[in-house]
């Protein structure tokens, strides 16, 4: 028997490593595009804001105007509802602190109006709670 057969050794092909980095790359590109769209190209536009979102300087102007109107008209209910729009944590403190700043700046009329409104609101609080 002529045994010329040769052993054929088939070396198994190493399994092709399947990397999924392209998926991660795609997601990152997508997120980046999404953020560019939402933060730069079409950001949420605030056109109809409330007085609570005003900058501190504008809040002071708004608060001062409310106080001066109160000093002129004496309508405390309307002044209180307007002040509520500013969503101050402590309305009386905000009025008092601004009154002091106005006084320091020589704005006596404004300071008086702010202090008057602060004291009237403070005086009204026990009356409201006792009812």
């Amino acid at each position: 028997m002529n045994d010329q057969t040769q052993e054929l050794r088939i070396t198994p092909q190493p399994e092709e490593k399947s990397h999924h980095w392209y998926l991660l790359t795609g997601i990152i590109i997508g997120i980046a595009a999404g953020l560019i769209i939402t933060w730069l190209l079409f950001p949420v536009v605030y056109q109809d804001t409330s007085p609570a979102s005003l900058s501190p300087a504008y809040k002071e102007i708004y608060r001062s105007t409310i106080a001066q109107v109160y000093a002129a008209t004496g309508n405390l209910e309307r002044a209180a509802s307007r002040l509520a729009l500013l969503e101050d944590e402590d309305v009386i403190y905000a009025l008092g602190a601004q009154a002091q700043r106005a006084l320091a700046d020589g704005q006596e009329k404004e300071a008086r109006a702010l202090a008057l409104l602060a004291s009237e609101i403070q005086a009204a609080i026990p009356t409201e709670t006792s009812e």
Binding site: L23, L24, G30, T49, A72
Partner: protein, 118 residues
Amino acid sequence: MSRRRRRYIFFFAAILIGLAIGVIYGWVVNPVVYKNTGMDTLRLDYKTDYVLMAAELYQSEGDLASALTRIAYIEASSPLAFVTTCIDYAEQHNYAREDIDIMWYLASDIDTALKATN
């Protein structure tokens, strides 16, 4: 489907998923927040109330320059048109007649002053 083609499909699907994540994050979860807005961004009803305040003070003080300065925080270029817009809003939303009249009084004096300067 060839492996290469499948990879392209998954790649673009991943971009779309990422885009959706980015849009939801940017518009819903963490949108651009304006904390320090100016008075010109106020909603029209708040603007109208502010104009009413300016008008109330004008009625009490009679100082048109101060009234215009107050209005200029919201609208500097055409105060008369702005006050008229606010009066229209007040009339449409059934503000008290006396409040509307106070605003008309201010608008009328602004108009007179503008005509005098032109």
